[in-house]
């Protein structure tokens, strides 16, 4: 697919706006509000670098293409939160390409019935063969998609069977509560295998090169034009078969790196949506006329301060606790997060009452207690340690680190703040796990505490940047991971796990972050766990 074709597609599909612009030559600047009721303009700070989530090197913002342009077998439902905003519903799995599914009697396989009327964007039918090819691809290409599939115990192509044209069967390796939800994440998207195979080569059996630039899906939107670093234009798929046809015809997603500019654009009404706004802007713009700010705490995510257990003073639990008692939580929350998100400090009991995750840690700011603990641990005179932060997340990390630095100084811990460039951050913090004291953030897509523990508290796992190891956690976590939530053993195990990490605090929770989206004359924004923009439900108001 070349530039030419996509441009032609853009022009022929553009109808309304092109006409609008030429009919109204006197309109010098046409604001978004006047751009027509079926066009939505959104701004984001990030670059979409691929249209294929399976590709190596595809970045997070690109995942939204998988959401908007491709369908999956199933999807999550939608619920309305207390504040009236929409969110996906983790508890409800809904049909998408599949119209129904059932577990086999032994519970070791799931059989999906596909919609017979299902069509790809090129008009060809969606068959079980396509699903199998797509799943085979996801588990074979390696990297992130394979890891994510594995989280749902989807590991080998042999697990996937196309029974007939519209019947698809997944054989399970183990019973796991994670399998079905994992089918609703962006990764197991369904690709038009006929088209993809045409462009596959011996070196490139999975058509990585082709699908990287040219989506072949069945989703609600097509990609009308894509200029990495500039914009992506979605165009409605009027023949969408997996759900109600979206209300808006086109969505222009503009990349504007400067947050100040994004804010200005939204304030001036030149765009309908600013996705992933800084907390400060969200705080200040909420309540303004015409602009709706939707702030949703990110599920299963915590911003935390991590002392690394590979380094001497932090091997002592009391030192970690001392730090936990010394963080100026309220100031950090107000200054770094502008109060957007949920506080995770000041819990009253050292044992959790329920299995909600994240929930308030039993710490608050108490420098005397911190000092006492430090004395007890033999570090009464304090020590020096670098406090590392990620340059690309300095918007929240820097103020948080500065405030933490000040309070740590009060109990005698001298810190120097080290900004690490984005490219190095992941290597240093997660892969080599060599940062003695640092800020960290992890959020699990699958909304279970055990899933969080699996990634962040089990030794050697990627997000356990504290090099934490606790024998009990090591046994409890794998046990709980696949266990259904309803299982009577589940809650006690989780509570025990929470109690342990509260006591040992290898990760000191600062707050639960939130995703801020500002909209203007726009309804239907829905929060998703993947924190990317789902444009399917949007409508102008």
């Amino acid at each position: 697919m070349t530039y030419e074709t996509s441009r032609r597609g853009f022009l022929t599909g553009v109808g309304a706006t092109a006409l609008g612009a030429s009919v109204l030559p006197f309109l010098k600047v046409l604001p978004a509000s006047a751009a027509g009721n079926d066009v939505v303009v959104a701004v984001t700070g990030q670059t979409i670098n691929s249209l294929d989530i399976h590709r190596k090197g595809t970045n997070r913002p690109s995942y939204q293409v998988a959401v908007n342009v491709y369908d999956r077998l199933v999807s999550f439902g939608t619920k309305t939160l207390e504040d009236g905003s929409l969110s996906y519903d983790y508890a409800v799995i809904e049909p998408e390409v599949a119209e129904s599914w059932e577990f086999t009697d032994d519970g070791m396989a799931i059989v999906f019935k596909l919609r017979p009327e299902g069509k790809f964007q090129d008009g060809s039918p969606i068959t079980a063969e396509d699903v199998k090819w797509s799943f085979d691809r996801a588990v074979s290409v390696g990297g992130f998609p394979t890891v994510q599939m594995k989280a749902g115990s989807l590991e080998k192509p042999e697990q996937f069977e196309a029974i007939d044209e519209f019947t698809f069967k997944i054989n399970l390796l183990r019973k796991s509560k994670l399998t079905l939800p994992d089918l609703a994440v962006p990764v197991p998207m369904i690709i038009n295998a006929k088209v993809a195979r045409e462009h596959a080569t011996e070196d490139d059996p999975w058509a990585m090169e082709y699908l990287h630039k040219t989506p072949a899906g069945s989703g609600a939107f097509k990609v009308a034009s894509w200029k990495p670093g500039e914009q992506l234009v979605y165009e409605r798929n009027d023949d969408w078969t997996s759900g109600p046809v979206p209300a808006v015809k086109r969505v222009v997603l503009r990349e504007v790196p400067s947050p100040a500019t994004r804010r200005a654009l939204l304030e001036r009404g030149d765009v309908n949506m600013s996705f992933n706004m800084p907390n400060k802007d969200a705080k200040e713009l909420s309540g303004t006329e015409d602009i709706t700010v939707t702030t949703t705490p990110v599920e299963n995510a915590i911003y935390c301060l991590c002392p690394n257990l590979s380094f001497e003073p932090f091997k002592d639990k009391r030192v970690r606790q001392a730090i936990a008692w010394s963080v100026p939580y309220e100031e950090v929350f107000q200054t770094a997060a502008y109060g957007r998100g949920a506080p995770l400090w000041g819990g009253q009991s050292a044992t959790p009452a329920d299995i909600a995750w994240p929930q308030k840690f039993p710490y608050s700011t108490d420098l005397d207690k911190a000092k006492a603990l430090l004395e007890e641990a033999g570090y009464g005179e304090g020590f020096e340690v670098p406090l590392s932060i990620d340059l690309s997340q300095s918007d929240w990390m820097e103020p948080a680190a500065l405030l933490i630095q000040e309070n740590l100084a009060k109990i005698g811990i001298k810190t120097t703040i080290e900004k690490i460039p984005g490219a190095n951050w992941r290597t240093a913090s997660l892969v080599e796990k060599r940062l003695p004291l640092h800020l960290e953030t992890f959020g699990g897509w699958l909304n279970y505490p055990c899933y969080y523990f699996f990634w962040a508290y089990q030794e050697g796992h990627l997000f356990n940047s504290s090099n934490y190891r606790n024998e009990e956690i090591e046994t409890l976590t794998p046990e709980a991971l696949h266990m259904p939530v309803e299982d009577p053993d589940y809650a006690p195990k989780i509570k025990r796990m929470i109690e342990i990490v509260w006591d040992e605090v290898p990760r000191i929770a600062l707050w639960q972050p939130a995703l801020n989206v500002g909209t203007r004359n726009l309804a239907g924004y829905e929060y998703w766990f993947h924190r990317q923009l789902d444009v399917r439900g949007l409508k102008k108001v």
Binding site: F10, L11, V14, T17, A18, G20, A21, S22, P25, V29, L30, A35, V41, T47, N49, S50, R55, K56, G57, T58, N59, R60, G142, G143, F144, T146, V147, Q148, A151, H212, K213, K227, P228, G229, E230, Q231, V252, R254, V256, P257, S258, T261, A264, L265, E267, R268, D270, V271, L391, P421, G422, A423, N424, W425, R426, T427, L430, V431, W455, L462
Partner: protein
Amino acid sequence: MAGRLSTIGLRITHAIPVILGVVVVSFLLTRALPGDPAVYFAGAAANEQSIAEIRTALGLDKPLTEQFLVYAGDVLTGDLGNSLSTGQPVLEDLANRLPASLELTLTALLLSCSIAIPLGVLAATRPGSAVDHLCRVLVTAGVSLPTFFTGIVLIYVFYYLLGIAPSPLGRLDFIYIEPDHVTGFYLIDAAIAGDWETWIGALKQLVLPATTLALFTLAPLARMTRAAMLSALSSDYIRTARAAGLTEDKVLFTYAFRNALLPVITTLGMVFSFTLGANVLVEKVFAWPGIGSYAVEALVVSDYAAVQGFVLAMALLFVALNLVIDLTYTLIDPRIGFETK
């Protein structure tokens, strides 16, 4: 003429070691960048194995010399590799983005020249006067402004507060359709297509970033114009021309200005290449899809191919620019090619 041609030929031969040097230095520089691109691009939930897979895919597991040979070989065949952050071939990215940077830079320089040169001439004809001092203070103030700061202030005032300027959204507001690709310069392409609506749209987007850059480049140009004019005006041939009764206009423009043009052109060349570098910050502020912002993003994520491609493109541009300056010189100054260097 043969002398001039051989001067230019000599310049081209001089460029070869420079380009070689740039290839080597850019390669080493990118390898020295911190961080492991394999880790970065393996994504959020990657494990050791998937990182290793990516590393192999990128060829980063090979020894450095081998990586360099592979790279040098690819460069020779015109293959600059794929950018990891945009996912596109670097050559394609550069081809798309270079015109944007050039259009911005050239517009800025055009604007800058049209103010700085008359200002410099004016100051040179009245050295030591209030006009002279005023010019000096004004242009110095311009060059003292950090471009990113000017850019932000201009956006705030003209877009946010006054609402005169269009939204700082790159080269064209989304309501316009970009003109058919001929040169990649929107102003030219739109003019070719006869689409004046788009032409004006593109021009409006250009005004603020070009002003930002122009403010910054006024000083060297105005200063050099002033100095060159002063030195030309104090030279013997001006006295001869005056003694022969030539009109002041003729003396000023045909005699003094043409001679003063030589150092001004040299400065212009330096300013041009400097501005292309300084673009980085302006492009970031104005979301301008040029190669400067491309390079910054690539650098931050250790995107080797993109950084190398960018540096190589800039070096070639620099060499080409010097050739253009040499050619301009030979057009203006007949002495070129006869003097020993």
